[in-house]
Symmetry: C2
Subunit: 297 residues, 2 copies
């Protein structure tokens, strides 16, 4: 096992992933505008943190990245669909995403909804089509069931619904955490879980890794809330203070900025502890935790 | 094999399906409004023609309906999500569906979009969770891949996109057919295909059955267009002439009403011919073709 730096690992795997995404869309037989809308949002950049988590998990087991390529692409497609729909006028009504016009601004609302639906649908197809040598049929079905749970009413979509319901209300920390664990946490957890399932991990190891991802997910969200107040508009690609202006409950608004930073540090600490309990080669996963804690966009 | 009438078979299986749908939603752990919105549209009635096709196909092979219960529920969930999204203000902007207020009228646009997304996501989970005794892992993956193709950019969503692109334009018969084959045909074909896959059919038989479903799907759509002009507003649950008012290309507008009726009869004839080429017990599938040709809602 080589001691590759996270930066070069991330860079290399971002290329691998983006090539896979382009290839997947190219292969689809569909109206041109459909494929354009799907690709536009897939290529809008982003940190590709979820695929990176999957690849880093495979790496922790000493397993080849190729094994997780289909599932990583599926996760990124799912994440992209959720952004397209989140930005819609009836949802967050955002005109910009990562500094680029949002899907409905470019293609209109109807095509934005359809592009999201097509990405969501295709993500399942990609997992199911993982080559036989990388995953047994049994593992693929497990990947699909867990993916649906993480993505659907029990996961991300449920979190989006709770988020909408909570708009304009003063939330408790528990309510805020429910939203984040579901809206963003479940898919981050799934990214690590998928790597572990593909690597044939035992139940105890899976529990430790998903605990890592759980705390990482909360840390990720707290950092997001902090960046919304303290970040650089240029780097995060949206106006500073938009949560406050939208009267959104955030960690800083509930715990003060100092309290939010302590909470963030606590989750990073717990995430790393969970990794230390495993016998895996977790340096990249550790580095991802540091990256999440310190990221400026 | 008993010689059950289509009416009693349809009635019995409608109950079986609706029980399965209610049970599936009840089992989900999600915000209450999410589950209410999912169930509202699932229980809005409808002919349940797609699940019926699946069950009738299993019946043609002399196989138990239980085998197809998860997939049938998945198909109905997928169909329901497509109706919720089709009715949205940015799509067809319909206030009524089967005489009841549409999802966004009851729950608001954002929750309607989310309810659709949750149904779409859950439909994959349902197929993957088909009990082992009813389908091998290999068959389940085949069911999932074909389902995604029928539902996504290469199928239904692609048809919806082509439909949107064609709005207000005078379409050729080929363009109109592309829309219908994708927007409604692919899922009808899948319903029959899924039954055949679950029954372990050989390739030649699958080809004949999907040919049946292809013609049935076009017949279904032509009958829809005819009903929009000649139907009873009370029975079809929406205003008569809405296609014409929306300047939609239809079979009657392209072929005259007489021509559309001939085209319908031709597809029903071809659908039945395809069935006759099989050695299956196809009386129910034959009856479904007659039902589609003569339906008044």
């Amino acid at each position: 096992m080589n001691n590759q730096s996270l930066a070069s690992f991330a860079n290399e795997h971002k290329k691998l992933l983006e090539e896979q995404l382009r290839k997947a869309i190219k292969d689809i037989e569909a109206p041109t505008i459909m494929k354009e809308a799907m690709l536009y949002s897939l290529e809008a950049g982003g940190k590709r943190i979820r695929p990176l988590l999957l690849f880093a998990t495979l790496h922790a087991f000493g397993q080849a990245s190729q094994k997780g390529l289909n599932t990583a692409a599926a996760i990124e497609m799912l994440h992209t669909y959720s952004l397209i729909h989140d930005d819609l006028p009836s949802m967050d009504n955002d005109d910009l995403r990562r500094g680029k016009p949002t899907s409905h601004k470019v293609f209109g609302e109807a095509f934005a909804i359809l592009a999201g639906n097509a990405l969501l649908t295709y993500s399942f197809q990609l997992i199911a089509a993982t080559p036989e040598q990388f995953a047994s049929s049994h593992i693929k079905l497990e990947l699909i069931i867990e993916f649906a749970k993480a993505a659907g009413a029990e996961g991300m979509v449920g979190g989006q619904a709770a988020d909408l319901e909570g708009e304009g209300k003063a939330l408790t920390k528990e309510e805020l955490e429910y939203i984040h664990v579901h809206k963003t946490g479940k898919l981050l957890i799934y990214s690590v879980l998928a790597g572990a399932l593909l690597a044939g991990a035992d139940k105890a190891t899976i529990d430790k890794l998903t605990r890592y991802a759980y705390h990482l997910g909360l840390a990720f969200q707290i950092r997001d809330d902090i960046l919304d107040l303290e970040g650089s508009e240029e780097l995060i690609g949206k106006p500073i203070g938009s949560d406050m202006n939208n009267q959104k409950s955030t960690y800083p608004s509930l715990l003060t900025m100092e309290g939010a930073k302590q909470e963030l540090a606590g989750h990073i600490h717990k995430a790393k502890l969970a990794l230390k309990e495993t016998i895996l080669y977790t340096s990249l996963l550790q580095d991802i935790a540091d990256l999440v804690a310190d990221r400026n966009h």
